[in-house]
Symmetry: C2
Amino acid sequence: MNTTEKFTEELKAINAKIKEYISSQSFMSKFKPEDIRDGVYLYLLRSAKSLRPGILSFSCGAVGGNPDSVLPAAAAVEVFHNWTLVHDDIIDNDSLRRGGDTVHVHFQKLAQGRGYSKADAEEYGRNLAILVGDIQHSFAISLFTKLYSEHEFEPALIIKLIDMMELEMNIELVEGETIDVQLSKKPILDITEDDIISMSAGKTGALYSFSAKAGAMLGLETIDENNPQIKSLSKFAYNCGVAFQLQDDILGITGSEEKIGKPYGSDIKEGKRTTIVWFAYNNATAAQKKTILGNLGKRSLERSEIDKMVRLLTDLGGIKHTFELAKKHIDLALLELNNIADSIYKDLLKSWADFMIKRSF
Amino acid sequence: MNTTEKFTEELKAINAKIKEYISSQSFMSKFKPEDIRDGVYLYLLRSAKSLRPGILSFSCGAVGGNPDSVLPAAAAVEVFHNWTLVHDDIIDNDSLRRGGDTVHVHFQKLAQGRGYSKADAEEYGRNLAILVGDIQHSFAISLFTKLYSEHEFEPALIIKLIDMMELEMNIELVEGETIDVQLSKKPILDITEDDIISMSAGKTGALYSFSAKAGAMLGLETIDENNPQIKSLSKFAYNCGVAFQLQDDILGITGSEEKIGKPYGSDIKEGKRTTIVWFAYNNATAAQKKTILGNLGKRSLERSEIDKMVRLLTDLGGIKHTFELAKKHIDLALLELNNIADSIYKDLLKSWADFMIKRSF
């Protein structure tokens, strides 16, 4: 088995363990009423990449810890990621996630089946999705406490991790999401490339970085955030997060609906501010600028118009530039691994980094 | 100073301490961007009753603990309560809270001022309010961790409290809110009085009960939930929570907009399922039943029609019955105090219980 295959196998194994762990009766039976329980598990039981549990486990292993002992933390970052997805899907009006309905659409359809009017069903869908996300947030925190009750980690270390997650990481994550919401209404002229990259850093880098840090701190059983291995793994994951988001923007333009799970051209229709659009716009002629501004954020775009925009953004170098930016962040990330001793886990971390920009989904 | 005055003074003092504590630079400077920070503090800095911090502090004192040492926990339950308000206000489409705009309305107005269209401003308001609530949830958890870093409570006890809050209490709380959302669409014929009371128990009793439990566990420095004093204080607060919610339903019908901070008749217009309506309906003639069903949940009701409904619900005994129910829960609560030694804190707990049904706001 080569490293890439090993990497794929490991992620699959982690995903399976997490699904089994969080679906145990002791957790599942707690969620009430039925609609909330179904909502909590809707994305969690679908097929997922498990990149956050992966980086947490590999980071734990890379500093000499036992990845099996941090399963509750690996599950916690996955569940934490889930509530942010559920709330973001409401915010972004997305209807597809992991190959199925988003939570709010799921409940909207359910309510329609129960005889609600269209408007009432939409409201019910949104309301239940808000509450489901809130409960998943709680579930994630609770999973962290299991590191103590099931694996006997030092309670002071767990408290430190919970505080880092809630007061530092989540503020950064929500900041990224807020800037995303705000940028989409700002004229592209008033945005800098740094604005877009720091949004990406918040939206994905923050939780990646926290996951690496948590894995390493648990692996080393230390509360010292300034430990050089911990700092390196945290920066490694942070830069990979930026690269992931940049690649996501590329797939949002070039990927098929089947692969990426959202309708063709939706990033263009939603007027998403990406480095692709930013770079293309800043290298466009006056006429091309007019075309970009006229089509970006236009919900009624037809397929032929989307095709034309994709070609324009590509021809103006937006895709190539964004891929180079992503590659640059991966190179920065890999440099950090010089501070980590060789091991099978270090190889897995390298594969994890490669995956950020080689993936097609 | 008599006990009632002392009670009012104490709550005011706790409220002031919490405001000062959570507004310190070390917290406030963390929240980003500006809109999120403003949202996080919007309700927190308005005048509030501080009933949850009150019961937490008094319970701590009543078992012999030092209420000053649990300030971060008192702040935590207030901030926790706040995120549930922010999300509930979106769910209930409420526009007033603590004498000012709700968070989503605040951001809606802000966006309109920034030139957003009405629909875009509404969406922005809702989106920011979802994110603000999410950050307040995190803030609450983080405040709990300060019991360790600032007051040296046993980390294992704090982990226990966080787990209780997140996995048990919040599930009950969200269950109450979910049932509320679901009941409002159910025919009144299909609802039992127990449905309504268990919804009230979830919406208010769960966090009251947790606050009392947390205060007592910190006061006794124990993780033993089965300690008789802890169990009694928890049941005491739970029953008071049910009574509070029942009294809230009465004020929702009879209270002035100025006092209760929501428009006259809004509970009737929203079709809220209360024991008032339930009892009145089940004691009504066929003609009266028709009137109740015709007006309940009708958004376009005029003042004279609301007046008529209020009179009808009163004449059919709905208000009286609900007050008796509330009183019954207070009596049940007070019985629990037999297990608590006499002290100034026990007197404050009694005043706290009295307040549930004597308040007019």
